[in-house]
Amino acid sequence: MIAQRQMHAGEASALTMSALAALLEQRTGQRIAANRAWRIDTALKPIATERGMASIDALVAEVRGGGNAALADQIVDALLNQETSFFRDAGAIETAAEAIATVATGRPRIWCAGCSTGQEPLSLSMALTEREVEHELIATDVSGHAINRARAGRYSQFEIQRGLATMRMLRWFDQDGSDWIARPALVRGINFRRSNVVLDTPPGRIFDGVLCRNVLFYLAPDLRPRVLDAIADSLRPGGLLMLGAGETVIGQSDRFAPSKRFRGLYELVAPKPAA
């Protein structure tokens, strides 16, 4: 829940803040963390201005009670934390690529859940291709805006430089003005889809690995076991899960155990035989 003190920090009224929290949770399962409530004014003011509305209260009044679904989508998109970067968290992507390529029996099939604007699946695709591992990647995010950006594969000068080595940038991207665009060879194996990790059921037992990094953190605690269950159902026996650096399955799922072979990953636990 949003801390009351934080709810009054910006220009929006407490009623508006409650409506926003409800909208976000209903659409995505995410909660507005108290330490991010301050962003709401910054995130929503441009939308209010664009629509000629005087305040965020007026903007949110438009969508209260289920009216104006398109605007509600836009508001939810703006509230989501889409922070990401190439090869985020030193070594994590390389570890995931190595581990998943090892456990897969054929061409690895991988799900990047919560892929934001695409830097994570592109990083994984680079790491796998450089290991000459053919692969299939499904990358999903709840934000339609983020998925559209990911599909375009176009990154600003600031975005391209965060975490991406220059040699990789030259190999995998083409310059277009001040932007950089992912080459077709890199994005060919990635299927970007808009999907909600809380509400949508992924296909069963098809993935060798799932990356779901920095997603659980934003979900209501009671939803996390459900999401981990869905991920477990989507993995083949022996499949691997990678969470964000500050996330864990401990206390939330007994279907995964820390991998002894691959540091930082979890292995799907084989079901116990029926007695």
């Binding site: 970067s85 430089q161 965060r162 220059t166 040699m167 001040s178």
Partner: protein, 121 residues
Amino acid sequence: MKSCLVVDDSKVIRKVARHILEGLDFTVSEAGDGQEALDACRSKMPDVILLDWNMPVMSGMDFLRALRTTDAAPRPKVVFCTTENGVAHIRAAIDAGADEYVMKPFDRETLASKLQIVGVA
């Protein structure tokens, strides 16, 4: 604590880079052109050099070529940091021995990630 030599003819850029680098736990020294940087390296070789391209007296590229002809051990990492943002310039810098390339303008996250990529942060 790692050391970084910031080579740029702009005092403002040197100041900004120093602020970021000190926040990343580097000890920072400065040079205003390539010749000053060469003199500084002869005196004490830093772990990493943040290098502008266009400077008076000696350019970043001429400095880099001169640096790479020395037998400095351990070999310092060189990160170009410049407004020359075209692919041809980037390739030329890498071919001349740069380890990484930062396109200006830059921020703390960009610089931190590049220093991590070259293994000094």
